[in-house]
């Protein structure tokens, strides 16, 4: 099941011209606020009519300006998870969930018990939305969308309204959704760590245009992709947990290189994905000794991309995968960093935050 989107629309002072394909898995629409992400979701959901374009889910046409097709939202079979949850205030949690199932196609098994279990909302069933916390509301909204048995889930910044603790609470549910429910997801976000953890495919939007799309590891490892600012630049690696050490560290194996980071939730043998922010990576041209940082990866400079300010982003090819390092242009010059130069990338264990570690897609 894949979604193909081509659309253009003119707003006063803002034009939208979007083209992308969302293959199975999680496709993240990544871009800063005002780049047109939410408009794309509204157009796909049928809540706004673009001036021109075509939107199709596999061979089912949802919108085609040429053929004058505009399927109303209730016939699109897309489950939308809104940023503000939008639970019905006059219904209990159980009734909200049942509302999702009510208009779902007949036949098929009743998934309620499984969805309630997966989202951990059993204890909330008899409550009213007004009595729920933000995180609980989000989980119920996800469940309600799932129970309408959609052919695809659209999630419009479902975590943006939540604080860091609540985000950490909800993200794993989206990972489970991706890995267990098998429903393709179009996920809108402007947060790099959400993209790194969830995305199978990344589509980068900038000022109403699609500027880049492709497999997540590839797009996120591209130093030119920084839609939400240079601080959000970071590479994403995949690794296997090797062991948990008694001093609170976990040892991972990333392409034969050992990485140490603060204790992760995954068990030994499990795969995970981690994002290493470019500004947490240091480079050395001689192998560093006697330093406190535990992770030293040998590699070779692949490219140096000078920024507009004093910084530059250096792409380093290591056995663990591509790493990005943000250094000053002065250092890049002093060290003679140029494509082909052997370097050591240094990463402090504690600089890898827990929200940057998640299950692989």
């Amino acid at each position: 099941m894949s979604l193909s989107v081509r659309l253009s629309h003119a707003f006063p002072g803002f034009g939208l011209d979007i083209a992308f394909d969302a293959p199975p898995g999680v496709t993240v629409l990544f871009g800063r606020s005002g780049s047109g992400k939410s408009t794309v979701v509204r157009a796909v959901a049928g809540l706004m009519r673009p001036a021109a374009g075509r939107i199709a889910l596999e061979d089912r046409v949802l919108f085609d300006s040429g053929a004058r097709i505009m399927l109303p939202p209730h016939r699109r079979r897309l489950g939308v998870v809104f940023q503000d949850a939008r639970l019905f205030p006059h219904l209990s949690v159980a009734q909200n969930l049942r509302y999702g199932a009510r208009f779902a196609p007949q036949g098929g098994r009743d998934d309620t018990a499984r969805v309630v279990e997966m989202l951990g909302i059993g204890p909330l069933l008899s409550r009213r939305p007004g009595a729920l916390s933000g995180g609980e509301r989000s989980r119920v909204a996800i469940g309600r969308a799932l129970l309408s048995r959609p052919e695809m889930i659209l999630a419009d910044e479902p975590l943006a309204a939540l604080d860091a603790a609540r985000k950490a609470e909800i993200l794993p549910y989206f990972e489970r959704l991706r890995d267990e429910a098998g429903v393709p997801i179009l996920y809108v976000s402007h947060a790099a760590e959400e993209v790194a953890r969830l995305a199978t495919t990344v589509v980068v939007l900038e000022a109403g245009r699609t500027v880049r799309q492709g497999p997540a590891l590839e797009v996120l490892g591209d130093p030119g992709v920084a839609p939400t600012g240079v601080r959000a630049v970071g590479a994403v690696l995949e690794a296997v947990v090797r062991a948990h050490h008694p001093d609170g560290l976990s040892e991972l194996d990333a392409g034969g290189v050992a990485l140490h980071l603060p204790r992760v939730a995954q068990k030994p043998g499990q795969r995970l994905r981690l994002r290493i922010a470019a500004q947490e990576v240091m480079l050395a041209t001689a192998e560093p000794r006697d330093i406190s940082a535990l992770n030293v990866l040998p590699g070779r400079v692949e490219a140096v991309l000078p920024g507009q300010g004093p910084g530059a982003i250096v792409t380093v090819e290591t056995p663990a995968g591509k790493l990005l390092a943000r250094v000053t242009r002065r250092s890049a010059g002093a060290l003679g960093l140029a494509p082909g130069r052997p370097v050591w990338a240094v990463v402090k264990s504690v600089s890898i935050a827990p929200e940057d570690v998640g299950a692989p897609s």
């Binding site: 959901a45 049928g46 809540l47 109303p72 939202p73 209730h74 016939r75 699109r76 079979r77 897309l78 489950g79 939308v80 809104f82 503000d84 939008r86 019905f88 205030p89 006059h90 219904l91 509302y99 999702g100 009510r102 208009f103 779902a104 009213r128 939305p129 007004g130 009595a131 309600r144 969308a145 309408s148």
Partner: protein, 230 residues
Amino acid sequence: MGWLGPEEWAAVALSLKVAFWAVAASLPLGIVTAYALARWSFPGKQILNGLVHLPLILPPVVTGYLLLLTLGPQAPLGGALESMGIVFAFRWTGAALAAGVMAFPLMVRAIRLSVEAVDPKLEEASATLGAPPLAVFATVTLPLILPGILAGAILAFAKAMGEFGATITFVSNIPGQTRTLPSAIYAFLQVPGGEAAALRLVAVSVGVAMGALLLSELLGRWIARRVAGA
């Protein structure tokens, strides 16, 4: 009813019947009109809005006379309806119609306010979950505007109970037929020694009005609690 004479009791019973039917018959139209004014944009919307509010601004006698001109026995529309067995002029049904027309703007205003208070985002969410437009209205909009509908209905009921000018112009003041509570009070005040009966009816009026207000307050609170979702 020991303390009310048969004539007075007839007036009270008739008024209750007239007000009930005035509200019951106009409520569906009131809901549709309020929804249309709150949510849709269509040519002639301001004209519809003006028409709905007209009875609030016009002298009631004028409204009653206009009803007589359009639905009276001599009027083409009234004649056509009469041949179908529907007669308004000088019948209690006419009193209900006059009361309904006079109360309509109050009803629509209350419901419209509550429709405007419903977040359209909830209706969008309902549609994305697969609900066709009518189901969106029935399962989301309607339950959320229930307090407004109730307030509008009770306000309209109270207004219908007290309607005088349009009623007496359209359907006159026939005992047992169109003599509603206000008409009866007026009639009693016209005859010597009628003050006592008039006073008794005034007491009934006050009682009904207070009762309606109290009931709307209680029901309103109950529904608000349900809808607030706490």
